[in-house]
């Protein structure tokens, strides 16, 4: 397939950046979207041009590094996938494809399509953990009986890979789906209850502090999330936070 790409190019954080048009020819419909970009980059390097910078790592949908706002949607037109799992057969020969970085004040562009998602790391550091006794006689987690429903819900929430597609898709650039998944995966388990109140308060405060927007329940995040994280988690975060804030001194 032959394609026309409109790609955001930006030298560095401070540079202005613009959409540039490229042509790629002979792309296999079986290749992944990132492989298609590899082909383009090979071309650019051969011509002595600067290749397009984009994030990627595992290329199998588990690390959350690949981002990209493709033709107006996070991770492109397919559902429940990351960009490395997007295949070129989703497009037609001759298509024009817009490729932009995640857009959010809290995710500044570093270069081209690469954004700085360390705001998520700082939110995690604010409370996304459990304190464990590491003195040598650590208790086996399985020793605590946990209702199957809770375990399943906690596990579902824990599948969040921190990709940021929720923020990118939300009209408010809100990070609520991410934060709610990270709060839920611990809040649902007895090990996570000890620090539950502090966690909810600190993570939400950090989220606001990073400059993410306010959730208005549009539900765009849930639809675009590659891991199908449910809005149910956001309702849980609202409950966790509100009850913690009422009790907080």
């Amino acid at each position: 397939m032959d394609l026309i790409l409109k790609i955001w190019r930006q030298k560095n954080k401070e540079a202005k950046g613009e959409l540039k048009t490229y042509e790629v020819k002979g792309v296999s419909p079986d290749s992944s979207f990132l492989e298609m970009l590899d082909v383009l980059n090979d071309d650019l390097v051969n011509k002595g041009d600067e290749p397009v910078a984009f994030d990627h790592d595992c290329r199998e949908g588990i690390c959350g590094m690949c981002s990209l706002y493709i033709n107006g949607e996070a991770h492109g037109p397919d559902r429940a996938i990351t960009t490395c799992q997007l295949h070129m057969r989703k497009f037609k020969d001759g298509d024009t494809i817009y490729i932009e970085p995640w857009r959010a004040a809290a995710f500044p562009v570093v270069k081209d399509l690469v954004v700085d998602r360390s705001a998520f790391d700082r939110i995690m550091a604010a409370g996304g953990f459990v304190s464990v006794n590491t003195s040598g006689n650590t208790q086996d987690a399985n020793a605590l009986p946990i209702p199957k429903d809770d375990a399943d819900k906690a596990f579902d929430a824990a599948t969040c890979i921190g990709c940021g597609a929720c923020v990118a898709s939300c009209k408010n650039a809100s990070a609520m789906l991410f934060v709610s998944a990270k709060v839920s995966q611990l809040a649902l388990l007895p090990q996570g209850r000890v620090e539950a109140e502090r966690r909810a308060i600190h993570m939400v405060e950090q989220m606001d502090h990073e400059g993410f927007g306010n959730c208005t329940n549009t539900g765009a995040c849930e639809v675009e999330c590659p891991k199908g994280i449910s809005l149910e988690n956001i309702a849980r975060l609202n409950r966790e936070y509100l009850s913690a804030a009422i009790k907080a001194e």
Binding site: G72, P77, R103, A105, K171, V204, D208, G213, T218, A245
Partner: protein, 230 residues
């Protein structure tokens, strides 16, 4: 309920939901009372007179309502401003319709349209009401305050307003925006308050759709009824 950083985003959305709930209840009773004007002008008159002169409603409920409306608007504007700032550079190509409803994305637009309508609505009913009651000092509610047999004035005033086709059309258009606002707002308020359950949430969504259609449709019906029969 604020923490050391002041009001957080979750508190803001919770308060938005709380004032929303309050307005939902207000709207329902407003629609029910207006409906009386179709069923029985006498009943409408006496209920209106009660609502307009009862001190509890006038001096306790009305200020709370005014505060609720005011708060909902101001908070909506603040949220919209903050959310705009959270994405300073927009996408060159964006397809929001792929993942969310028009109603959910345009609450500020439907909200502003309702606010503009409120201006007209106050000009039509509230300001004349204040004028008669508190400036002219006529608390009788009579068509002709010097003549006790003249009957109560409320139904007459209401019907009179809907003689005008332009006003009636503006009212109907406003109710369409109200419906769009409610279709997202109703179920969104429950989610913001943390109320979500696999058993009840589908019911709440259905109820929200019913409310968002039936209540505005009720207002539209009343407006058209008086336009035709007035």
């Amino acid at each position: 309920m604020s923490t050391h950083e002041g009001m957080t985003s979750i508190v803001r959305k919770f308060l938005m939901a709380l004032s929303g709930f309050f307005l939902l209840i207000f709207l329902l009773q407003h629609c029910a009372i207006n409906f009386l004007s179709v069923i029985s002008p006498d009943m409408f008159n006496s209920v209106s007179h009660f609502m307009g002169t009862n001190p509890l409603i006038q001096f306790a409920m009305q200020p709370i309502l005014a505060f609720g409306v005011f708060f909902h608007i101001i908070m909506g504007v603040i949220l919209n401003k903050m959310n705009d700032a959270a994405r300073p550079i927009k996408y060159a190509m964006n397809k929001p319709a792929e993942n969310s409803s028009w109603m959910s994305r345009n609450m500020v637009i439907t909200g502003i349209m309702i606010l503009l309508f409120l201006g007209l609505h106050f000009y039509d009913f509230w300001i004349p009401e204040l004028n008669v009651k508190y400036i002219q000092g006529d608390m009788s509610g009579l068509l002709d305050p010097t003549f006790a047999e003249s009957g109560l004035r409320y139904h007459e005033e209401l019907v009179h307003k809907f003689h005008n086709p332009i006003r009636t059309s503006i009212y109907i258009l406003a109710f369409v925006f109200l419906s769009l606002h409610l279709l997202h707002g109703f179920q969104s308020a429950f989610q913001s308050a943390g109320f979500r359950h696999s058993k009840y949430t589908p019911m709440i969504k259905k109820l929200g759709n019913l409310y968002g259609i039936i209540v505005p449709a009720g207002f539209v019906f009343i407006a058209i009824y008086h336009f035709i029969n007035g």
